[in-house]
Amino acid sequence: MVEKTKLLEMYRGMLQIRFFEEKVFELYGQNLVPGTIHLYAGEEAVAVGVCANLRRDDYITSTHRGHGHCIAKGADMRRVMAEILGKKTGYCKGKGGSMHIADFSIGMLGATAVVGAGIPIAAGAGLSVRLRGTDQVVACFFGEGASNQGTFHEGVNMAAIWRLPVVFVCENNLYAMGTRQNIVMGIENIADRAAAYGIPGVTVDGNDVLAVYEAASEAVNRARQGGGPTLIECKTYRQKGHSRFDPATYRPRDEVEEWLKKDPIPRFKTKLIQMGALKEGEDEKLRREAAAAVEEAVKFAMESPFPQPEEALEDVYVEEESASRK
């Protein structure tokens, strides 16, 4: 049985991500967000259910659809928003943007916009944990599309043969951009691939935060105790298109509607009320707080300066050594 404080912490986290993403959507409608955006709305239960099992010193790797991972791991939303807007106060000083946010102080090893590239990097963090003799765990987020990359095979295999403390979390949202899973895979469940590496694989309802939490809890404990990696497949759905300009017309309307009915936030709210862990009035208060925190992040980001153009030349190499460049 999950404690009430943990339940509410997860609910708060999911609300926070949803409110954040809705605000980002609104801001780019106002042309305030340069480039493109991949929103996590609809998939909140995955990041939150997994990260609720992690310590501050545990690691995660993330993807182009990574805002939710950052927030769930405990990143400062003000600096996430500032990075999305290209500001100097952002996590990457405006050099990374929406697809490349990292916060090494909380073990957020960064988002990569190369699909599948984070998988061997997560295995490497796991190897580092092993060689340093700590009991940290690495959670590696990626989509079902990434599981068709060679890096998935190479990275998961290496983690498996060395029994590294890595939890591979596949966010199966059915579509790799516009390509439906059945067009590019002969299997229905990505978790089946775990058998090829001799590791446990489990498929869960990725829109049920408690199901994700429990699967992740087992996997994280196994990893922490030296039992090696697990592949968790979370079946979920993105509520928006792939990216900024995608109306997602390739998804049948009845499929979208069916998934919207399975929205992880109202589902969890209903469950919390049934469990007696939440009252309507409390929900209103949590929503007001989440909205206020997002407003504060927006205010911080909007008031922050853009970087000076010449800052484009900094951070290519570690400074003390670049001094020797002639």
Partner: protein, 325 residues
């Protein structure tokens, strides 16, 4: 001083750094106790440091580098070996998009102290997939350093600097150089990055050369001296950072430059060096810049074909004589 081979010099650097720093570890295909590396560089290290720190991997170049990146950004100092430089193509995303770029992309939050060792070079009849010289790919990638040692002294000193440094290094070894001997100091030393060495002083022409070509340039210079031509041989030792000032200074002194590299000519290392000389020392040139490089073909297999494409002493001498009147 003592005389050792480049293979031994590299092994000494790895051994000394592994003794000095527990976070240094090696990973790659067949580098462990059963083989000791395809070229024998890591022979004996698994026995000395254990299989955890000298780690045989699956044939997975992309993950060898990716795992190296993940370990490097979380407190370790991995030295990854790619068995043949040509196979770095399999890991290009991890080398050029991840290792080289994540410090910048993440706003300077992280250091990537990863060393990637790999052999380049033709001359042993193993054709296009095991013989190329692809330094230019990596020199063209901001965020990476590229080391190109030609002697045992430089190989050891540069590898120690690479391992102790905090930037990702693509460390090139030339497969014909492994058995080449040279004198090194018995004392602890490092060779700094970005500092070229004039391997032979001269007055009439500068020969810029890297890796195995340094040895061919020195042999050519010796023959040229019998014809009264005094050639200066400049070895950059690292292509990134590049010691432009030593190259430019030498050209200002001699007024002529012949650039000798083993990679193919178009958009190769030689093109960059020629551009630098044109930008920074054009007024000092008494003759056109000459390049001696491989033609724009893959490396062929059959010995007469292969020897035809690799720059040799004769082609260097011919190029020098073309600019020294």
């Amino acid at each position: 001083m003592k005389e050792i081979t480049i293979r031994e010099a590299l092994r000494e650097a790895l051994r000394e750094e592994m003794h000095r720093d527990k976070t240094v570890f090696l990973l790659g295909e067949d580098i462990g106790r059963y083989w000791g590396g395809a070229f024998g560089v890591t022979k004996g290290l698994a026995e000395e440091f254990g299989d955890e720190r000298v780690r045989d991997t699956p044939i997975s170049e992309s993950a060898i580098i990716g795992v190296g990146v993940g370990a490097a950004i979380t407190g370790m100092r991995p030295v990854a070996e790619i068995m043949f430089g040509d196979l770095s193509a399999l890991a290009m995303d991890q080398i050029c998009n991840q290792a080289a770029k994540i410090r910048y992309m993440f706003g300077g939050q992280v250091k990537v102290p990863l060393v990637i060792r790999t052999p380049f070079g033709a001359g042993v009849n193993i054709a296009s997939h095991h013989s190329q010289s692809l330094e230019a790919w990596f020199m063209h990638t901001p965020g990476l350093y590229v080391a190109v040692p030609s002697t045992p002294y430089d190989a050891k000193g540069l590898l120690k600097t690479a391992i102790r440094g905090t930037n990702p290094v693509f460390f090139v070894e030339h497969k014909l150089l492994y058995p080449v001997k040279g004198m090194i100091s018995e004392e602890e030393y490092n060779v700094p990055f970005g500092v070229a060495e004039v391997k032979k002083e001269g007055a009439d022409v500068t020969i810029f050369a890297t890796l195995y070509m340094v040895h061919k340039a020195l042999a050519a210079a010796q023959k040229l001296s019998k014809d009264g031509v005094s050639a200066e041989v400049v070895d950059p030792r690292t292509l990134s950072p590049l010691d432009k000032s030593t190259i430019v200074k030498s050209v200002k002194k001699t007024g002529r430059i012949v650039i000798v590299t083993e990679d193919c000519k178009t958009a190769g290392v030689s093109a960059e060096i020629a551009a630098i000389v044109a930008e920074e020392a054009l007024d000092y040139l008494d003759a056109p810049i000459r390049r001696v490089a491989e033609p724009d073909t893959p490396i062929p297999f059959s010995p007469p074909l292969e020897q035809f494409v690799i720059p040799d002493e004769r082609s260097i001498i011919k190029a020098v004589k073309g600019v020294v009147h």
